[in-house]
Amino acid sequence: MQTEAEWKFTAKDIAEKPDLFLSGHRACAGCGPATVLRLIMKAVRGPTIVTNATGCMEVVSSIYPYTSWAIPWLHTAFENAAANASGIEAALKILKKKGRSKHEHVDVIALAGDGGTYDIGIQALSGAVERGHDFLYVLYDNEAYMNTGIQRSGGTPLGASTTTSPAGTVIPGKLEHKKPIADIMVAHDMPYVATASPYYWRDLLVKVRKGLEVNGPAFLHVFAPCPRGWRSDPAKSIELSRLAVETCIFPLWEAVNGEYQLSTPSKVFALAPQKKKPVKEYLQVQGRFRHLFTPKFEKLTEEIQRVTDERWKRLLKKCGM
């Protein structure tokens, strides 16, 4: 097994590695999830099979008769990416046992959006993790069901305006907080859980590789700004993925066998809290939060700040800081 130093995750090495998620996909200009996929596919270590739940990334990469995947890729129904990954992994094991596989090992990656994970895919995911299948589950979180027209999901944050939680005279956008999905996965007693953000690309790649190296299930929650659903400038998708970490609205951490550990980009804000930015800086550049800057709903920004601080404090405690 290679060590972390041998993974070759410098900008030059990555730029020289072949693309496995190819150009010509039909994602919108500035699509955060597309950058995430391009990056994670640079961290694979050998033969890999990807299975992808219905959602933007599945649709934009597999429009008939073309594919953007330079590796074996299977579409799965919206609700069962993890069940599909379990099946693939079990089949690979049998093939190997029967001597019909020429590969020593094949990695399996399940890929799904927040709708396909927080809401509809969670039972398949929970079951696959409980059975201990060896696969990496990547959740790209663009915080709504974007592919079908920006409906709210369990991953949509408080106050975000979506087509099923529209901000208007009655409600100030979504009424509930974001479900702590990665913590729910840690509670499954699994070997590896982590959060990542594409601005911190090296941290993201290292976590993908760690998730693949681990024996057993691994879960990676990746922040993925969507300019279309967030009503944000397409040029700012990567900037937003930085701001989310700098405001501690999306902190970066790992839990190895249940032991929480803050990742370096977030550690900066734990050690120097004065560097932590107010959440308003992150909210004000997105049209989905525009109404929070009107007198009627401005109290909600304070609530978002309060809950962000509370969750951050709780995380620091879990990380022993």
Binding site: A11, K12, I14, A15, E16, D19, F21, L22, S23, G24, H25, R26, A27, C28, A29, G30, C31, G32, A34, T35, R38, L39, S61, I63, Y64, P65, Y66, T67, S68, A70, P198, W201, P227, D233, P234, A235, K236, S237, I238, E239
Partner: protein, 92 residues
Amino acid sequence: MTAKEKSWKEISPAGVCWKSSTQFLTGDWKTYKPVRDLEKCTRCLLCVLFCPDGAIHWKPEKGDIEFDYNFCKGCGICANECPAKAIEMKLE
């Protein structure tokens, strides 16, 4: 564009073609196009890493990057993230 490549508007809906999506040139979506100032560029390669469309390539033999406007959708991420401010988005 070579003879085999087609713009997305020309692709026939009939017939399966097991070729990659790189045949599908998405570059005509853009209204703005990134233009780089060679003097300012430090070849840090961040634009290559962040481009959602894989439209910027590192050419080791030239020691430089190259834009592939066939796939660039003009999002402006490369310009926004360039630490040297070497990229300017210009109207097509």
